[in-house]
């Protein structure tokens, strides 16, 4: 299966076969087909709509689980705000104590008025917290004025992959509201 076949099947009216095909979950929606297409057909948008045509409960468990966790806890990894706060403070404490030159490194959470809010993937604090340190060190060395948000703090969004438009929108709205109205920060920075 490939994007050209999908378009041919659509042209031939093979809607049933397309709906049955699991390829909509294999496609990564990377848009390289759009770049190559002379008519710039938005195939990823078709894929997203195909995903949305599957009843929510029947969509892939892995993606569904991550989306549900994000709505419930604020991150796809399912870490609550308190777990996140504890991990960040714990790692920061260790760096301040053990890493020379970073004794006064400033790592804050939900600090109102910070110049930038960092949007970090929840994989780091949950599965490899030591990976946050190098980024904080860089921010410290350039004198950046930054903070982490605790509302919808996970930088990922599996509800988008799930084609759960309501969930996707809810995550975005909660995040935007928190940054604009609570933290009042002018800049949101996506990390690597």
């Amino acid at each position: 299966m490939d994007p050209r076949k999908l378009i041919r099947m659509l042209n031939l009216g093979m809607d049933d076969q397309i709906r049955k095909s699991e390829w909509k979950w294999v496609c990564s929606m990377c848009q390289r087909c759009v770049l190559a297409c002379p008519m710039k057909i938005n195939i990823p948008a078709l894929i997203l709509n195909l995903r949305a045509s599957v009843p929510r409960k029947k969509r892939p468990k892995g993606i569904l689980g991550s989306c549900d966790q994000h709505i419930r806890t604020g991150s796809a990894m399912g870490a609550q705000k308190d777990d996140f706060t504890f991990t960040v403070e714990d790692v920061a404490e260790e760096i301040k104590e053990d890493h020379p030159g970073f004794e006064d490194m400033n790592v804050t959470i939900d600090r109102v008025g910070a110049q930038m809010v960092l949007n970090q993937n929840s994989r780091e604090p949950v599965t490899e917290p030591e990976e946050m340190g190098p980024l904080w060190k860089i921010l410290h060395m350039v004198g950046a004025d930054w903070t982490y948000p605790t509302v919808m703090w996970g930088g990922e969004n599996y509800c988008m992959f799930l084609a759960d438009f309501e969930g996707w929108r809810y995550i975005m709205e909660e995040f935007v509201h928190h940054v604009d109205n609570n933290l009042k920060s002018p800049l949101v920075v996506n990390t690597e």
Binding site: E22, W25, V26, C27, S28, M29, C30, Q31, R32, V34, L35, P44, I47, P60, K61, G62, I63, G65, S66, I95, D98, H99, G101, F102, V117, N121, R123, E128, E130, E131, G133, P134, L135, K137, I138, M141, V142, G143, A144, E156, Y158, F161, L162, W168, R169, M172, E173, V176, V179, D180, S185, P186, L187, V188, V189, N190, T191, E192
Partner: protein, 178 residues
């Protein structure tokens, strides 16, 4: 936010653009001296989100500027094709969790071969999906490369990377600057 027309006051940028800006302003004091004698070779993965989907090559060009500054121009080997025309890692769009690992790895083989052709030991993949997928296909197809974050290499170059922060480095760089 664009999709749902959610109004917002803040501006959204990537840390890569800031790294580049800080290097130009002299705030991020980093160079490639550490790699002069070692000569570790680096290549790149262009994540679709910051390449094609950002609407221009601006961010991925900044990414190249940062990498060349940190590892040395002679130690950076670009992929073919690259930037907005680069291949997908094969792990995005939820594919890592969608439950079709054979298909995911079959698409990933294109990425694996492309990385292998550069001969680089290190792949900088500034996206979590790409990072996880490229590690997975590396193990699956027997690649001998390491997938690293840019922040790891920047801190290594500045001499502030602690021993506990070197999970992704290979044995050739594991002790550098300690």
């Amino acid at each position: 936010m664009r999709r749902f027309n959610i109004p917002h006051k803040f501006k959204l940028i990537t840390i890569i653009e800031l790294y580049a800006q800080w290097i130009r302003e002299g705030k991020l004091k980093v160079n490639s001296d550490w790699n002069k004698d070692i000569g570790a070779k680096f290549t790149i993965q262009d994540p679709c989100n910051i390449a094609r989907k950002s609407g221009s090559n601006k961010i991925v060009d900044e990414l190249r500027f940062v990498i060349k500054t940190v590892v040395g121009e002679e130690n950076f080997i670009d992929t073919v094709p690259n930037r907005e025309n680069n291949y997908c890692c094969g792990g995005g769009g939820g594919a890592l969790q969608a439950g079709f690992p054979d298909e995911r790895r079959a698409y990933g083989r294109i990425k694996f071969n492309q990385i292998k052709a550069t001969g680089a030991n290190y792949v900088i993949a500034p996206c979590h999906n790409c990072h996880a997928q490229i590690e997975d296909i590396g193990h699956h197809y027997g690649g001998n490369y390491h997938v690293v974050h840019l922040w790891t290499i920047i801190c290594l170059a500045m001499g502030v990377l602690a021993e506990s922060e070197r999970t992704y480095l290979g044995p050739d760089l594991a002790k550098v600057g300690l």
